[in-house]
Amino acid sequence: MRIGDFKESYATDEAVFTTSTSRFWLGVLFLILALFPFMVGDYLLYMANITGIAIVAALGLNILTGAAGQISLGHAAFVGIGAYTSAILSNRFGMPFLICLPLAGLASAFFGVLVGAPSMRMKGLYLCITTLAAQVIFEFFFVHWESLTGGIRGLNIAPAKIFGLNIGTEFGFYWVTLTVVIIAATVSRNIFRTRVGRAFIAIRDRDISAELMGINLFRYKLYAFAVSSFLAGIAGCLWVNHLKSITPEHFPLHESIRFLAMIIVGGLGNILGAIYGAIFMTLIPEILQAILKFFEEIFPQAMSFLFPLQTVVFGFLIVVFLVFEPHGLAEMWVRVKSYFRLWPFKH
Protein backbone atom coordinates (compact mmCIF):
# COMPACT_ATOMS: atom_id res chain seq x y z
CA MET A 1 0.00 0.00 0.00
CA ARG A 2 2.81 2.41 0.79
CA ILE A 3 3.96 3.94 -2.42
CA GLY A 4 6.96 6.24 -2.85
CA ASP A 5 5.66 9.74 -3.12
CA PHE A 6 3.24 10.74 -0.38
CA LYS A 7 1.08 13.26 -2.15
CA GLU A 8 0.84 11.48 -5.48
CA SER A 9 0.01 8.12 -3.99
CA TYR A 10 -2.75 9.24 -1.65
CA ALA A 11 -4.35 11.37 -4.32
CA THR A 12 -4.48 8.31 -6.57
CA ASP A 13 -5.77 6.24 -3.71
CA GLU A 14 -8.59 8.71 -3.10
CA ALA A 15 -9.64 8.91 -6.75
CA VAL A 16 -13.03 7.47 -7.66
CA PHE A 17 -12.07 5.50 -10.75
CA THR A 18 -8.77 4.11 -9.60
CA THR A 19 -7.85 1.53 -12.19
CA SER A 20 -7.41 1.94 -15.91
CA THR A 21 -9.88 -0.92 -16.38
CA SER A 22 -12.64 0.93 -14.58
CA ARG A 23 -11.87 4.06 -16.57
CA PHE A 24 -12.02 2.04 -19.77
CA TRP A 25 -15.45 0.63 -18.96
CA LEU A 26 -16.70 4.07 -17.98
CA GLY A 27 -15.62 5.26 -21.44
CA VAL A 28 -17.46 2.37 -23.07
CA LEU A 29 -20.57 3.19 -21.06
CA PHE A 30 -20.50 6.83 -22.18
CA LEU A 31 -20.02 5.75 -25.77
CA ILE A 32 -23.06 3.46 -25.61
CA LEU A 33 -25.11 6.19 -23.94
CA ALA A 34 -24.09 8.62 -26.68
CA LEU A 35 -24.91 6.23 -29.54
CA PHE A 36 -28.11 4.87 -28.01
CA PRO A 37 -30.52 7.62 -29.21
CA PHE A 38 -29.38 7.20 -32.81
CA MET A 39 -30.13 3.50 -32.80
CA VAL A 40 -33.57 3.23 -31.18
CA GLY A 41 -37.06 4.58 -31.65
CA ASP A 42 -39.21 6.94 -29.62
CA TYR A 43 -40.59 4.26 -27.33
CA LEU A 44 -37.18 3.21 -26.02
CA LEU A 45 -36.11 6.85 -25.77
CA TYR A 46 -39.23 7.52 -23.74
CA MET A 47 -38.27 4.64 -21.45
CA ALA A 48 -34.74 5.99 -21.15
CA ASN A 49 -36.06 9.41 -20.23
CA ILE A 50 -38.43 8.27 -17.50
CA THR A 51 -35.70 6.00 -16.16
CA GLY A 52 -33.27 8.91 -16.04
CA ILE A 53 -35.79 11.07 -14.19
CA ALA A 54 -36.36 8.26 -11.68
CA ILE A 55 -32.60 7.97 -11.21
CA VAL A 56 -32.28 11.65 -10.28
CA ALA A 57 -35.11 11.35 -7.75
CA ALA A 58 -33.71 8.10 -6.33
CA LEU A 59 -30.24 9.64 -5.94
CA GLY A 60 -31.90 12.31 -3.83
CA LEU A 61 -33.76 9.88 -1.61
CA ASN A 62 -30.62 7.78 -1.33
CA ILE A 63 -28.87 10.68 0.42
CA LEU A 64 -31.65 11.29 2.93
CA THR A 65 -32.78 7.75 3.64
CA GLY A 66 -29.97 5.55 2.39
CA ALA A 67 -27.04 7.54 3.76
CA ALA A 68 -28.39 9.71 6.57
CA GLY A 69 -30.94 7.12 7.67
CA GLN A 70 -33.96 9.45 7.81
CA ILE A 71 -36.86 7.54 6.27
CA SER A 72 -39.05 9.71 4.08
CA LEU A 73 -42.52 8.85 2.81
CA GLY A 74 -42.88 12.22 1.12
CA HIS A 75 -40.34 12.09 -1.68
CA ALA A 76 -42.95 12.10 -4.45
CA ALA A 77 -44.44 15.29 -3.03
CA PHE A 78 -41.05 17.00 -3.35
CA VAL A 79 -40.82 15.84 -6.94
CA GLY A 80 -44.29 17.34 -7.31
CA ILE A 81 -43.23 20.67 -5.85
CA GLY A 82 -40.41 20.86 -8.37
CA ALA A 83 -42.77 19.98 -11.20
CA TYR A 84 -45.39 22.56 -10.22
CA THR A 85 -42.77 25.24 -9.59
CA SER A 86 -41.30 24.67 -13.01
CA ALA A 87 -44.72 24.66 -14.74
CA ILE A 88 -45.88 27.81 -12.97
CA LEU A 89 -42.64 29.68 -13.63
CA SER A 90 -42.70 28.86 -17.32
CA ASN A 91 -46.46 29.42 -17.82
CA ARG A 92 -46.84 32.63 -15.86
CA PHE A 93 -43.46 34.26 -16.15
CA GLY A 94 -42.26 32.72 -19.38
CA MET A 95 -39.06 31.58 -17.72
CA PRO A 96 -36.79 29.38 -19.83
CA PHE A 97 -36.12 25.79 -18.91
CA LEU A 98 -32.55 26.38 -17.79
CA ILE A 99 -33.75 28.92 -15.19
CA CYS A 100 -36.71 26.80 -14.10
CA LEU A 101 -34.48 23.81 -13.43
CA PRO A 102 -32.43 25.21 -10.52
CA LEU A 103 -35.39 27.18 -9.18
CA ALA A 104 -37.50 24.03 -9.05
CA GLY A 105 -34.71 22.39 -7.08
CA LEU A 106 -34.44 25.31 -4.69
CA ALA A 107 -38.22 25.45 -4.12
CA SER A 108 -38.26 21.77 -3.19
CA ALA A 109 -35.17 22.18 -1.02
CA PHE A 110 -36.90 25.01 0.84
CA PHE A 111 -39.90 22.83 1.67
CA GLY A 112 -37.59 19.92 2.39
CA VAL A 113 -35.86 21.93 5.08
CA LEU A 114 -39.23 22.93 6.54
CA VAL A 115 -40.36 19.32 6.71
CA GLY A 116 -36.97 18.29 8.09
CA ALA A 117 -37.03 20.86 10.90
CA PRO A 118 -38.91 18.58 13.34
CA SER A 119 -36.02 16.10 12.99
CA MET A 120 -34.31 18.04 15.75
CA ARG A 121 -36.71 16.46 18.23
CA MET A 122 -37.91 13.38 16.40
CA LYS A 123 -36.37 10.38 14.84
CA GLY A 124 -37.22 7.00 13.41
CA LEU A 125 -40.90 6.27 13.00
CA TYR A 126 -42.01 9.63 14.33
CA LEU A 127 -40.05 11.51 11.71
CA CYS A 128 -41.34 9.08 9.12
CA ILE A 129 -44.90 10.07 10.06
CA THR A 130 -43.97 13.75 9.66
CA THR A 131 -42.86 13.09 6.10
CA LEU A 132 -46.08 11.16 5.50
CA ALA A 133 -48.01 14.19 6.74
CA ALA A 134 -46.01 16.38 4.35
CA GLN A 135 -46.92 14.05 1.48
CA VAL A 136 -50.62 14.32 2.33
CA ILE A 137 -50.54 18.08 2.88
CA PHE A 138 -48.68 18.86 -0.34
CA GLU A 139 -51.01 16.57 -2.28
CA PHE A 140 -53.93 18.43 -0.76
CA PHE A 141 -52.49 21.73 -2.01
CA PHE A 142 -51.84 20.30 -5.47
CA VAL A 143 -55.54 19.40 -5.70
CA HIS A 144 -57.16 22.34 -3.95
CA TRP A 145 -55.09 25.42 -4.67
CA GLU A 146 -56.74 25.56 -8.07
CA SER A 147 -55.74 29.09 -9.02
CA LEU A 148 -52.11 28.07 -8.85
CA THR A 149 -52.03 24.36 -9.67
CA GLY A 150 -55.05 23.96 -11.91
CA GLY A 151 -56.66 21.53 -9.46
CA ILE A 152 -57.29 17.98 -10.58
CA ARG A 153 -57.00 18.94 -14.23
CA GLY A 154 -53.45 20.06 -13.58
CA LEU A 155 -51.27 22.17 -15.83
CA ASN A 156 -49.99 21.92 -19.36
CA ILE A 157 -46.79 23.53 -20.52
CA ALA A 158 -45.29 24.33 -23.89
CA PRO A 159 -42.34 22.23 -25.12
CA ALA A 160 -39.12 23.51 -23.58
CA LYS A 161 -36.23 25.03 -25.45
CA ILE A 162 -32.56 25.44 -24.60
CA PHE A 163 -30.93 28.36 -26.45
CA GLY A 164 -33.67 28.10 -29.07
CA LEU A 165 -33.13 24.36 -29.51
CA ASN A 166 -36.29 22.32 -29.16
CA ILE A 167 -35.96 19.68 -26.45
CA GLY A 168 -39.63 18.74 -26.54
CA THR A 169 -38.97 15.55 -28.50
CA GLU A 170 -37.91 12.31 -26.88
CA PHE A 171 -34.63 12.56 -28.75
CA GLY A 172 -33.95 16.14 -27.67
CA PHE A 173 -34.93 15.47 -24.09
CA TYR A 174 -32.68 12.44 -23.88
CA TRP A 175 -29.62 14.68 -23.88
CA VAL A 176 -31.05 16.84 -21.14
CA THR A 177 -31.89 13.84 -18.96
CA LEU A 178 -28.51 12.25 -19.56
CA THR A 179 -26.65 15.44 -18.62
CA VAL A 180 -28.67 15.94 -15.46
CA VAL A 181 -28.23 12.30 -14.42
CA ILE A 182 -24.45 12.58 -14.84
CA ILE A 183 -24.32 15.81 -12.83
CA ALA A 184 -26.59 14.44 -10.09
CA ALA A 185 -24.52 11.28 -9.75
CA THR A 186 -21.29 13.27 -9.66
CA VAL A 187 -22.62 15.62 -7.01
CA SER A 188 -23.79 12.65 -4.92
CA ARG A 189 -20.41 11.04 -5.21
CA ASN A 190 -18.61 14.28 -4.36
CA ILE A 191 -20.61 14.73 -1.20
CA PHE A 192 -19.49 11.33 0.03
CA ARG A 193 -15.85 12.18 -0.52
CA THR A 194 -16.02 14.92 2.11
CA ARG A 195 -16.88 15.40 5.74
CA VAL A 196 -20.49 16.16 4.82
CA GLY A 197 -21.18 12.68 3.45
CA ARG A 198 -19.26 11.04 6.27
CA ALA A 199 -21.37 12.95 8.76
CA PHE A 200 -24.56 11.67 7.07
CA ILE A 201 -23.46 8.07 7.41
CA ALA A 202 -22.27 8.62 10.98
CA ILE A 203 -25.71 9.95 11.90
CA ARG A 204 -27.32 6.87 10.39
CA ASP A 205 -24.93 4.43 12.07
CA ARG A 206 -24.80 5.94 15.59
CA ASP A 207 -26.22 9.38 16.10
CA ILE A 208 -25.01 9.62 19.70
CA SER A 209 -21.37 9.03 18.94
CA ALA A 210 -21.69 11.20 15.84
CA GLU A 211 -22.58 14.07 18.15
CA LEU A 212 -19.68 13.25 20.43
CA MET A 213 -17.44 13.49 17.33
CA GLY A 214 -18.48 17.12 17.02
CA ILE A 215 -21.17 16.66 14.38
CA ASN A 216 -24.08 19.03 14.73
CA LEU A 217 -26.90 16.53 14.21
CA PHE A 218 -29.61 19.03 13.46
CA ARG A 219 -27.61 20.91 10.86
CA TYR A 220 -26.59 17.77 9.02
CA LYS A 221 -30.08 16.32 9.05
CA LEU A 222 -31.31 19.55 7.48
CA TYR A 223 -28.51 19.34 4.91
CA ALA A 224 -29.68 15.84 4.04
CA PHE A 225 -33.26 17.02 3.65
CA ALA A 226 -32.11 19.97 1.55
CA VAL A 227 -29.96 17.98 -0.88
CA SER A 228 -32.48 15.19 -1.16
CA SER A 229 -35.43 17.43 -1.93
CA PHE A 230 -33.29 19.60 -4.21
CA LEU A 231 -32.64 16.57 -6.40
CA ALA A 232 -36.33 15.64 -6.13
CA GLY A 233 -37.24 19.12 -7.36
CA ILE A 234 -34.84 18.79 -10.27
CA ALA A 235 -36.43 15.45 -11.14
CA GLY A 236 -39.84 17.13 -10.95
CA CYS A 237 -38.80 19.84 -13.38
CA LEU A 238 -37.55 17.19 -15.81
CA TRP A 239 -40.76 15.26 -15.31
CA VAL A 240 -43.11 18.09 -16.26
CA ASN A 241 -40.99 19.19 -19.19
CA HIS A 242 -40.89 15.63 -20.46
CA LEU A 243 -44.62 14.91 -20.14
CA LYS A 244 -45.60 18.54 -20.81
CA SER A 245 -48.44 18.18 -18.34
CA ILE A 246 -48.95 17.40 -14.67
CA THR A 247 -51.83 16.48 -12.44
CA PRO A 248 -51.82 15.70 -8.71
CA GLU A 249 -52.22 12.04 -9.65
CA HIS A 250 -48.61 11.92 -10.73
CA PHE A 251 -47.29 12.34 -7.20
CA PRO A 252 -49.26 10.08 -4.84
CA LEU A 253 -48.04 8.26 -1.74
CA HIS A 254 -47.41 5.07 -3.66
CA GLU A 255 -44.96 6.95 -5.87
CA SER A 256 -43.06 7.88 -2.67
CA ILE A 257 -43.04 4.22 -1.74
CA ARG A 258 -41.81 3.31 -5.21
CA PHE A 259 -38.82 5.62 -4.69
CA LEU A 260 -38.13 3.92 -1.35
CA ALA A 261 -38.33 0.54 -3.07
CA MET A 262 -35.79 1.72 -5.66
CA ILE A 263 -33.12 2.51 -3.11
CA ILE A 264 -33.84 -0.60 -1.05
CA VAL A 265 -33.69 -2.93 -4.05
CA GLY A 266 -30.57 -1.14 -5.26
CA GLY A 267 -28.79 -1.15 -1.91
CA LEU A 268 -29.27 1.54 0.74
CA GLY A 269 -26.70 4.32 0.82
CA ASN A 270 -25.08 3.16 -2.39
CA ILE A 271 -25.02 5.57 -5.33
CA LEU A 272 -24.75 2.85 -7.98
CA GLY A 273 -27.46 1.02 -6.06
CA ALA A 274 -29.85 3.94 -6.40
CA ILE A 275 -29.18 3.96 -10.14
CA TYR A 276 -29.68 0.21 -10.55
CA GLY A 277 -32.76 0.34 -8.35
CA ALA A 278 -34.34 3.13 -10.40
CA ILE A 279 -33.66 1.22 -13.61
CA PHE A 280 -35.06 -2.00 -12.18
CA MET A 281 -38.21 -0.42 -10.78
CA THR A 282 -38.91 1.42 -14.03
CA LEU A 283 -38.10 -1.27 -16.55
CA ILE A 284 -39.39 -4.44 -14.90
CA PRO A 285 -43.08 -3.41 -14.89
CA GLU A 286 -42.67 -2.42 -18.51
CA ILE A 287 -41.08 -5.76 -19.39
CA LEU A 288 -43.76 -7.65 -17.51
CA GLN A 289 -46.36 -5.78 -19.51
CA ALA A 290 -44.65 -6.68 -22.76
CA ILE A 291 -44.63 -10.35 -21.76
CA LEU A 292 -48.30 -10.07 -20.92
CA LYS A 293 -49.06 -8.59 -24.34
CA PHE A 294 -47.36 -11.56 -25.90
CA PHE A 295 -49.54 -13.99 -23.95
CA GLU A 296 -52.64 -11.97 -24.73
CA GLU A 297 -52.24 -12.81 -28.40
CA ILE A 298 -52.03 -16.52 -27.66
CA PHE A 299 -54.70 -16.75 -24.94
CA PRO A 300 -56.98 -13.71 -25.31
CA GLN A 301 -59.50 -15.12 -22.84
CA ALA A 302 -56.93 -15.43 -20.02
CA MET A 303 -56.34 -11.68 -19.72
CA SER A 304 -58.69 -11.00 -16.84
CA PHE A 305 -56.68 -13.54 -14.89
CA LEU A 306 -53.22 -12.53 -16.13
CA PHE A 307 -53.54 -8.80 -15.74
CA PRO A 308 -53.47 -8.60 -11.93
CA LEU A 309 -50.70 -11.17 -12.00
CA GLN A 310 -48.35 -8.48 -13.25
CA THR A 311 -48.45 -6.64 -9.93
CA VAL A 312 -48.08 -9.88 -8.02
CA VAL A 313 -45.00 -10.91 -9.99
CA PHE A 314 -43.47 -7.47 -9.51
CA GLY A 315 -44.06 -7.58 -5.77
CA PHE A 316 -42.70 -11.10 -5.66
CA LEU A 317 -39.50 -10.05 -7.45
CA ILE A 318 -38.94 -7.31 -4.87
CA VAL A 319 -39.42 -9.74 -2.00
CA VAL A 320 -37.04 -12.21 -3.61
CA PHE A 321 -34.46 -9.45 -3.76
CA LEU A 322 -34.87 -8.43 -0.16
CA VAL A 323 -34.52 -12.02 1.01
CA PHE A 324 -31.67 -13.21 -1.18
CA GLU A 325 -29.86 -9.96 -1.82
CA PRO A 326 -30.33 -7.79 1.27
CA HIS A 327 -27.57 -5.42 0.20
CA GLY A 328 -29.24 -4.86 -3.10
CA LEU A 329 -28.34 -4.94 -6.75
CA ALA A 330 -25.14 -3.01 -6.15
CA GLU A 331 -23.71 -5.79 -4.00
CA MET A 332 -24.82 -8.42 -6.47
CA TRP A 333 -23.06 -6.54 -9.25
CA VAL A 334 -19.82 -6.48 -7.25
CA ARG A 335 -20.00 -10.25 -6.92
CA VAL A 336 -20.76 -10.79 -10.58
CA LYS A 337 -17.80 -8.59 -11.46
CA SER A 338 -15.35 -10.41 -9.23
CA TYR A 339 -16.67 -13.71 -10.58
CA PHE A 340 -15.83 -12.67 -14.11
CA ARG A 341 -12.46 -11.32 -13.09
CA LEU A 342 -11.50 -14.73 -11.73
CA TRP A 343 -13.58 -16.72 -14.12
CA PRO A 344 -11.06 -18.14 -16.59
CA PHE A 345 -8.73 -19.17 -13.77
CA LYS A 346 -11.31 -20.39 -11.39
CA HIS A 347 -10.55 -24.08 -11.51
Partner: protein, 259 residues
Protein backbone atom coordinates in the same frame (compact mmCIF):
# COMPACT_ATOMS: atom_id res chain seq x y z
CA UNK B 1 -2.25 24.29 35.88
CA UNK B 2 -5.62 22.59 36.13
CA UNK B 3 -7.06 22.04 32.68
CA UNK B 4 -10.25 20.51 34.00
CA UNK B 5 -12.10 21.27 37.20
CA UNK B 6 -15.14 19.35 38.32
CA UNK B 7 -16.97 20.89 41.25
CA UNK B 8 -19.64 19.25 43.39
CA UNK B 9 -21.33 17.31 40.63
CA UNK B 10 -24.57 15.53 41.48
CA UNK B 11 -26.25 13.24 39.00
CA UNK B 12 -29.34 11.12 39.47
CA UNK B 13 -31.78 9.21 37.28
CA UNK B 14 -35.22 9.27 38.84
CA UNK B 15 -34.58 8.17 42.40
CA UNK B 16 -31.20 6.63 41.65
CA UNK B 17 -28.31 8.74 42.88
CA UNK B 18 -25.44 7.97 40.48
CA UNK B 19 -22.94 10.70 41.37
CA UNK B 20 -22.90 12.33 44.76
CA UNK B 21 -21.00 15.56 45.24
CA UNK B 22 -18.02 14.56 43.09
CA UNK B 23 -15.18 17.07 42.80
CA UNK B 24 -11.75 16.68 41.27
CA UNK B 25 -9.33 18.57 39.14
CA UNK B 26 -7.00 17.32 36.46
CA UNK B 27 -3.67 18.95 35.70
CA UNK B 28 -2.53 19.68 32.22
CA UNK B 29 -0.46 16.84 30.80
CA UNK B 30 -1.11 14.23 33.44
CA UNK B 31 -2.64 10.79 33.28
CA UNK B 32 -5.51 10.81 35.70
CA UNK B 33 -7.21 7.51 36.48
CA UNK B 34 -10.67 6.86 37.81
CA UNK B 35 -11.14 3.46 39.43
CA UNK B 36 -13.91 1.81 41.36
CA UNK B 37 -16.18 -1.24 41.29
CA UNK B 38 -18.76 -1.80 38.57
CA UNK B 39 -21.65 0.60 38.82
CA UNK B 40 -19.64 3.11 40.86
CA UNK B 41 -20.41 5.85 38.35
CA UNK B 42 -17.14 6.08 36.42
CA UNK B 43 -18.66 6.03 32.96
CA UNK B 44 -21.29 8.48 34.15
CA UNK B 45 -18.54 10.99 34.98
CA UNK B 46 -17.21 10.77 31.43
CA UNK B 47 -20.74 11.17 30.12
CA UNK B 48 -21.12 14.35 32.16
CA UNK B 49 -17.80 15.65 30.87
CA UNK B 50 -18.76 14.87 27.28
CA UNK B 51 -22.17 16.47 27.61
CA UNK B 52 -24.13 13.31 27.07
CA UNK B 53 -25.49 13.34 30.64
CA UNK B 54 -26.46 16.53 32.43
CA UNK B 55 -25.65 16.82 36.08
CA UNK B 56 -28.39 18.28 38.30
CA UNK B 57 -25.92 20.22 40.40
CA UNK B 58 -22.31 21.24 40.09
CA UNK B 59 -20.08 22.77 37.50
CA UNK B 60 -17.46 21.60 35.00
CA UNK B 61 -14.74 24.04 33.98
CA UNK B 62 -12.54 23.32 31.00
CA UNK B 63 -9.57 25.69 30.67
CA UNK B 64 -11.34 28.04 33.06
CA UNK B 65 -14.58 28.12 31.08
CA UNK B 66 -17.81 26.60 32.36
CA UNK B 67 -18.85 24.01 29.79
CA UNK B 68 -21.77 22.56 31.75
CA UNK B 69 -24.35 23.87 29.31
CA UNK B 70 -22.61 23.18 26.03
CA UNK B 71 -23.84 20.50 23.63
CA UNK B 72 -21.64 17.43 23.02
CA UNK B 73 -20.55 18.65 19.59
CA UNK B 74 -19.44 22.00 21.02
CA UNK B 75 -17.42 20.29 23.74
CA UNK B 76 -15.83 18.04 21.14
CA UNK B 77 -14.67 21.02 19.13
CA UNK B 78 -13.24 22.60 22.28
CA UNK B 79 -10.98 19.57 22.64
CA UNK B 80 -12.68 16.74 24.50
CA UNK B 81 -12.39 13.35 22.82
CA UNK B 82 -13.57 10.01 24.02
CA UNK B 83 -13.21 6.28 23.54
CA UNK B 84 -15.99 4.06 24.76
CA UNK B 85 -16.33 1.13 27.11
CA UNK B 86 -18.47 -0.64 24.52
CA UNK B 87 -16.85 0.14 21.22
CA UNK B 88 -18.82 2.83 19.42
CA UNK B 89 -17.31 2.85 15.96
CA UNK B 90 -19.33 3.44 12.82
CA UNK B 91 -19.52 -0.18 11.81
CA UNK B 92 -20.42 0.20 8.17
CA UNK B 93 -17.44 2.43 7.42
CA UNK B 94 -13.83 1.65 6.75
CA UNK B 95 -11.11 2.28 9.30
CA UNK B 96 -9.95 5.28 7.29
CA UNK B 97 -13.41 6.85 7.17
CA UNK B 98 -13.90 6.31 10.89
CA UNK B 99 -10.67 8.16 11.57
CA UNK B 100 -11.54 10.91 9.12
CA UNK B 101 -14.80 11.36 11.01
CA UNK B 102 -12.82 12.23 14.09
CA UNK B 103 -11.45 15.26 12.26
CA UNK B 104 -14.92 16.52 11.43
CA UNK B 105 -14.86 19.57 13.68
CA UNK B 106 -11.50 20.73 12.31
CA UNK B 107 -12.59 20.71 8.68
CA UNK B 108 -14.32 23.51 6.85
CA UNK B 109 -15.95 21.96 3.80
CA UNK B 110 -19.55 23.14 3.58
CA UNK B 111 -22.43 21.63 1.68
CA UNK B 112 -21.79 23.55 -1.54
CA UNK B 113 -18.04 22.89 -1.49
CA UNK B 114 -18.81 19.24 -0.95
CA UNK B 115 -21.22 19.05 -3.91
CA UNK B 116 -18.66 20.60 -6.27
CA UNK B 117 -15.54 19.03 -4.75
CA UNK B 118 -13.41 21.69 -6.36
CA UNK B 119 -10.45 23.58 -4.98
CA UNK B 120 -10.91 23.90 -1.27
CA UNK B 121 -12.86 20.73 -0.54
CA UNK B 122 -10.48 18.65 -2.62
CA UNK B 123 -7.38 20.22 -1.08
CA UNK B 124 -8.75 19.78 2.41
CA UNK B 125 -9.46 16.09 1.87
CA UNK B 126 -5.97 15.48 0.48
CA UNK B 127 -4.31 17.28 3.39
CA UNK B 128 -6.48 15.40 5.83
CA UNK B 129 -5.49 12.07 4.31
CA UNK B 130 -1.81 12.90 4.52
CA UNK B 131 -2.05 14.13 8.08
CA UNK B 132 -3.97 11.06 9.21
CA UNK B 133 -1.52 8.71 7.52
CA UNK B 134 1.46 10.39 9.11
CA UNK B 135 0.23 11.26 12.60
CA UNK B 136 -2.22 8.50 13.31
CA UNK B 137 -2.16 5.46 11.05
CA UNK B 138 1.61 5.12 11.12
CA UNK B 139 1.75 5.92 14.79
CA UNK B 140 -0.82 3.33 15.83
CA UNK B 141 0.46 0.75 13.36
CA UNK B 142 -2.80 0.17 11.54
CA UNK B 143 -1.62 0.62 7.94
CA UNK B 144 -2.64 -2.89 7.03
CA UNK B 145 -6.31 -2.43 7.90
CA UNK B 146 -7.02 1.09 6.73
CA UNK B 147 -9.39 0.03 3.96
CA UNK B 148 -11.26 -2.61 5.95
CA UNK B 149 -14.77 -2.10 7.32
CA UNK B 150 -14.40 -1.93 11.09
CA UNK B 151 -17.04 -4.60 11.65
CA UNK B 152 -14.62 -7.20 10.25
CA UNK B 153 -11.83 -6.38 12.72
CA UNK B 154 -10.80 -8.22 15.86
CA UNK B 155 -11.82 -6.66 19.16
CA UNK B 156 -8.36 -5.38 20.10
CA UNK B 157 -7.93 -3.69 16.73
CA UNK B 158 -11.34 -2.07 16.99
CA UNK B 159 -10.27 -0.51 20.27
CA UNK B 160 -7.15 0.78 18.57
CA UNK B 161 -9.21 2.29 15.76
CA UNK B 162 -11.37 3.99 18.35
CA UNK B 163 -8.23 5.53 19.82
CA UNK B 164 -7.19 6.59 16.32
CA UNK B 165 -10.53 8.28 15.77
CA UNK B 166 -10.26 10.09 19.11
CA UNK B 167 -6.75 11.31 18.20
CA UNK B 168 -8.05 12.64 14.89
CA UNK B 169 -10.24 14.95 16.96
CA UNK B 170 -7.00 16.65 18.02
CA UNK B 171 -8.16 16.71 21.62
CA UNK B 172 -6.66 18.50 24.58
CA UNK B 173 -8.14 15.94 26.91
CA UNK B 174 -8.57 12.31 25.96
CA UNK B 175 -11.19 10.38 27.90
CA UNK B 176 -10.65 6.62 27.76
CA UNK B 177 -13.25 4.25 29.13
CA UNK B 178 -11.67 0.85 29.85
CA UNK B 179 -9.27 0.84 26.88
CA UNK B 180 -7.79 -2.59 27.60
CA UNK B 181 -10.83 -4.43 28.94
CA UNK B 182 -11.16 -7.76 27.18
CA UNK B 183 -7.72 -7.57 25.61
CA UNK B 184 -5.04 -10.22 25.81
CA UNK B 185 -1.64 -9.49 27.38
CA UNK B 186 0.03 -8.55 24.12
CA UNK B 187 -2.75 -6.23 23.02
CA UNK B 188 -2.76 -4.63 26.46
CA UNK B 189 0.97 -4.02 26.25
CA UNK B 190 0.59 -2.34 22.86
CA UNK B 191 -2.19 -0.14 24.13
CA UNK B 192 -0.19 0.92 27.19
CA UNK B 193 2.72 1.81 24.96
CA UNK B 194 0.45 3.93 22.75
CA UNK B 195 -1.09 5.71 25.72
CA UNK B 196 2.32 6.61 27.15
CA UNK B 197 3.61 7.74 23.74
CA UNK B 198 0.55 9.87 23.20
CA UNK B 199 0.94 11.60 26.53
CA UNK B 200 4.61 12.19 25.98
CA UNK B 201 4.61 13.31 22.34
CA UNK B 202 1.35 15.16 22.04
CA UNK B 203 1.13 17.18 25.19
CA UNK B 204 -2.20 15.58 25.98
CA UNK B 205 -4.09 15.18 29.21
CA UNK B 206 -5.57 11.73 29.64
CA UNK B 207 -8.39 10.64 31.90
CA UNK B 208 -8.58 6.89 32.01
CA UNK B 209 -11.00 4.40 33.53
CA UNK B 210 -9.64 0.90 33.93
CA UNK B 211 -10.00 -2.27 35.97
CA UNK B 212 -6.53 -3.56 35.22
CA UNK B 213 -4.86 -2.50 38.48
CA UNK B 214 -1.30 -3.25 37.49
CA UNK B 215 -1.63 -1.08 34.43
CA UNK B 216 -3.29 1.75 36.34
CA UNK B 217 -0.63 1.75 39.05
CA UNK B 218 2.05 1.75 36.35
CA UNK B 219 0.93 4.61 34.18
CA UNK B 220 -1.16 6.98 36.27
CA UNK B 221 0.10 10.18 37.80
CA UNK B 222 -2.90 10.40 40.08
CA UNK B 223 -5.87 8.20 40.82
CA UNK B 224 -9.36 8.88 42.07
CA UNK B 225 -11.33 6.08 43.68
CA UNK B 226 -15.07 6.08 43.32
CA UNK B 227 -17.55 3.98 45.25
CA UNK B 228 -21.34 4.21 45.04
CA UNK B 229 -21.06 7.55 43.26
CA UNK B 230 -18.81 9.08 45.88
CA UNK B 231 -15.16 9.92 45.77
CA UNK B 232 -13.52 8.00 48.58
CA UNK B 233 -9.85 8.64 47.87
CA UNK B 234 -7.45 10.47 45.60
CA UNK B 235 -3.69 10.54 45.30
CA UNK B 236 -0.69 9.02 43.60
CA UNK B 237 -0.58 5.23 43.14
CA UNK B 238 1.21 4.53 46.46
CA UNK B 239 -1.15 6.71 48.46
CA UNK B 240 -4.21 5.17 46.90
CA UNK B 241 -2.97 1.62 47.35
CA UNK B 242 -2.50 2.19 51.05
CA UNK B 243 -5.65 4.18 51.64
CA UNK B 244 -7.78 2.30 54.23
CA UNK B 245 -11.09 3.20 52.60
CA UNK B 246 -9.83 1.85 49.29
CA UNK B 247 -8.60 -1.39 50.76
CA UNK B 248 -11.97 -1.86 52.35
CA UNK B 249 -14.20 -0.87 49.48
CA UNK B 250 -12.41 -1.89 46.40
CA UNK B 251 -9.22 -3.82 46.68
CA UNK B 252 -10.51 -6.15 49.35
CA UNK B 253 -7.63 -7.13 51.57
CA UNK B 254 -5.25 -7.86 48.73
CA UNK B 255 -2.59 -5.21 49.12
CA UNK B 256 -1.14 -5.60 45.70
CA UNK B 257 -4.51 -4.85 44.25
CA UNK B 258 -4.99 -7.79 41.90
CA UNK B 259 -8.74 -7.83 42.42
Amino acid sequence: MAILEVNNVHLSFGGLQVLHDVSFSVNSGEIYAIIGPNGAGKTSILNCLGGFYHQQKGQIDFNGIDISHLTPDRRASLGLARTFQNIALFRGMTVLDNIKLGSHAHLKTGLLDAALYWGRAHREEMELREEIEKDIIDFLEIEHIRKQPVSTLAYGLQKRVELARALAMQPKILLMDEPVAGMNAEETEDMVRFILDIQEERDLTIIIIEHDMRMIMDISDRIMVLNFGQKIAEGNPQEVQQHPEVLKAYLGTDKRGQS
